[in-house]
């Protein structure tokens, strides 16, 4: 499977998140060793509540699916709830360290539960 963005990155260099490629195609119910590291990434950028690292499991659970969906929406990706090629490519791309957990602009539509 080809990850287009990766073809320009030399794998010998220290690309912090390159190992997340192994989670490609994971979806709800998957259990992949090391997925807790990916959950830390999602915590780091504001998509999962901060909890003790020891409580992060390697299971793709409901909370993580919700985080992936929010990530896909925020980053303008197709919303699949899975770690598809575009999503993984985006996750491993170099980025700004500022969290994505920001306030929505006032004019933007949002949904409230009533």
């Amino acid at each position: 499977r080809t990850l287009p963005e990766l073809t320009v990155v030399d794998s010998r260099n220290n690309n912090t998140w390159r190992h997340f490629v192994k989670f490609l195609d994971a979806g709800k119910g998957s259990h992949v060793t090391g997925m807790s590291e990916l959950k830390k990434y999602f915590q780091r950028f504001g998509y999962l509540d901060t909890v003790p690292e020891t409580s992060l499991t390697d299971t793709f659970d409901d909370r993580f699916e919700s985080a992936v969906i929010t990530y896909q929406k925020n980053l303008g990706l197709a919303v699949t709830g899975k770690l598809d090629t575009d999503t993984v490519t985006q996750i491993i791309s170099p980025r700004c360290g500022v969290s994505d957990d920001a306030a929505p602009a006032p004019h933007k539509l949002h949904v409230s539960r009533h």
């Binding site: 030399d10 912090t16 980053l75 980025r95 700004c96 920001a102 306030a103 929505p104 933007k108």
Partner: protein, 192 residues
């Protein structure tokens, strides 16, 4: 576009002037001082072209509103850098002014002379971080400067409509700015 929680902005009388300065210690030396200053000057001028905010370089780093530095790893603000690629830079919301770039990156001012496959365009990242300094958070519009990621050897320096509308909502418009000056497509990619 999006804002930080509470929509913080620099609260000065308009037109406001913000000063910036480079850390005398935490700096990179493989980019010349003149190139470095020119990059920041161009990046600041893009934002000041659309809002009534001027940026001027100050000599006194500690007294400047915006404090710029290149740092390795854990540099004391709780947001450690991570080496080559990964996190490239970060900046703080108004009116903090801290502007940090990862010294481990191969920062490029010209992809013609910098051939590294992991070279990152300094001007693109600087332009993005200035958006944070002004109060913009990340955008979901891929073409916008405020989109959070940037691939190596990619240049994205021109503000898009989403960036302009966001920052003008915070500061108002520069009276000389015309929306017609925005390009339909202003993202260029250079793969060496």
């Amino acid at each position: 576009y999006a804002y930080f929680h509470g929509q913080p902005r620099w609260a000065r009388s308009s037109p406001m002037t913000l000063t910036y300065a480079f850390s005398p210690v935490n700096i990179i030396h493989y980019v010349s001082q003149s190139d470095l200053k020119a990059v920041f000057e161009r990046a600041f001028s893009r934002w000041s072209a659309v809002i009534p905010v001027n940026f001027t370089e100050a000599n006194n780093y500690w007294a400047a509103d915006i404090k710029i530095g290149f740092y390795h790893g854990d540099h004391g603000d709780g947001e450690a850098f991570d080496g080559v690629l990964g996190i490239l830079a970060h900046a703080f919301s108004p009116e903090n002014g801290r502007f940090h770039l990862d010294a481990a990156e191969t920062w490029a001012v010209d992809f013609g002379s910098e051939k590294s496959k992991v070279a990152v365009d300094l001007e693109s990242v600087v332009t993005h971080e200035i958006g944070h300094i002004l109060g913009l958070a990340h955008s979901s519009v891929k073409q916008a400067v405020m989109y959070p990621s940037l691939s190596p050897r990619t240049k994205k320096v021109d503000l898009r409509l989403d960036d302009v509308e966001g920052v003008q909502s915070l500061y108002g418009s520069n009276p000389n700015f015309k929306f017609s000056s925005l390009l339909a497509s202003d993202t260029s990619i250079s793969v060496g």
